[in-house]
Amino acid sequence: MRYMDEYRDPQLAHEYAELLAKITTRDWTIMEVCGGQTHAILKFGIDTLLPEQITLLHGPGCPVCVTPIELIDKAIEIAMHPTVIMTSFGDMMRVPGSSTDLLATKASGGDVRMVYSPMDAVALARNNPHKQVVFFAVGFETTAPATAMAVHIAKSEGLTNFSLLVAHVLVPPAVEAILSAPERRVNAFLAAGHVCTVMGYDEYIPIAKKYGVPFVVTGFEPLDILQGITMCVAQLEEGRAEVENQYARAVQQAGNIPAKSLLERVFMPTNRRWRGIGEIPMSGAGLRPEYADYDAENRFGMAQPKSEVASECMSGTVLQGLIKPDQCPAFGVRCNPEHPLGATMVSSEGACAAYYRYRKNEA
């Protein structure tokens, strides 16, 4: 097995669709909180295979999309320092701040570089001792262990010219925010597989119990997603609200213990504003005091909270699953990947970008 193609068998996908049609007796709404799953659903047309009673909603599963404007502005401000090399993942480069983005900052003379891994940023710091290398760290729990290792290694090597602008966010507090909203429509969640590869799934057990919603830890290939949906529907139809694991080949209940222990050592939960949604308590990861010297916000001055710029963009309602991207009046008309109104149209994992790429012609 190569653990990819096998999970894309169209015949088995249709068998899953038939099974779902048989077991579904009522309307159910299921949310995924992972941009990778959102893209797979649209790319492979998984939503078109489902019985009419099942609605898939796309949650705030794109960490780039929820990075608050003030942090992007801060990254841009730091990138304009003549001694700074600003690094981040490619996805972050074109996300609009309040007036510009990192790519445009590079065009106007800032040293902005795309990296594949935070370790590449550490290597840049090692090789450029006269420059300050900043890694703009974005991502969920899946990505945070890489950032944690980067700062841990920088500290153990005594690199004084490396720092982090931390925008890491945590999934369970966002899920709770969605569940406690008065207009909540979600009956069950597909829990993001790779977040759980790192964290395990114990955190969801009290949430499933408190709100009476099933969670199924789910992978990223079409058959994974179809099985995850089937397991959700089976629970809903039977009146159960448990945490189950579809993605056992990659997820153990306790998660990845060495990764969790380094995360614990480097980061602590902190309040964080989510773009388009607002502040969610304890939903961000911030550096612990022992790593404060590596915090770019300390090194270059704190980011000033800004009120969100008034815009036609409805990404906040999209991110909360209240509307689908193609229900936004600006979708495909005044908003497209070339001229995005918001981050969800920019990031390769944003729900609006996925709908634009795979569904534009049907709109």
Partner: protein, 85 residues
């Protein structure tokens, strides 16, 4: 963002727990990944790699679950007289 791709470890370099590195083949394309988070990983294991880090060894025994579940649910359905199947 949370994309992690399965690849096969073809060699391992170093023994420092934080910087142990593997050469990983993704269908023939070779990239390096840090193995600190999979200390028990060995050559020929499949690992899931995300931003330069292996996050997990793919569990071969569990890899068939998605096919087994479908078969079991299908068999249950056939046992159910109300399903008409």
């Amino acid at each position: 963002m949370c994309l992690a791709v399965p690849g096969k470890i073809i060699s391992i370099m170093g023994d420092d727990p934080f910087t142990r590195t593997g050469k990983i083949s993704f269908g023939g394309i070779i990239k390096e990944a840090n193995l600190a988070y999979v200390p028990e990983a060995k050559v020929d294991d499949y690992v899931l790699v995300h931003v330069g880090f292996a996050l997990n060894i793919v569990d071969e025994a569990e890899a068939h679950q998605v096919f087994d579940y479908l078969r079991q649910m299908g068999e249950l359905d056939e046992l159910n007289p109300e399903s008409g199947g």
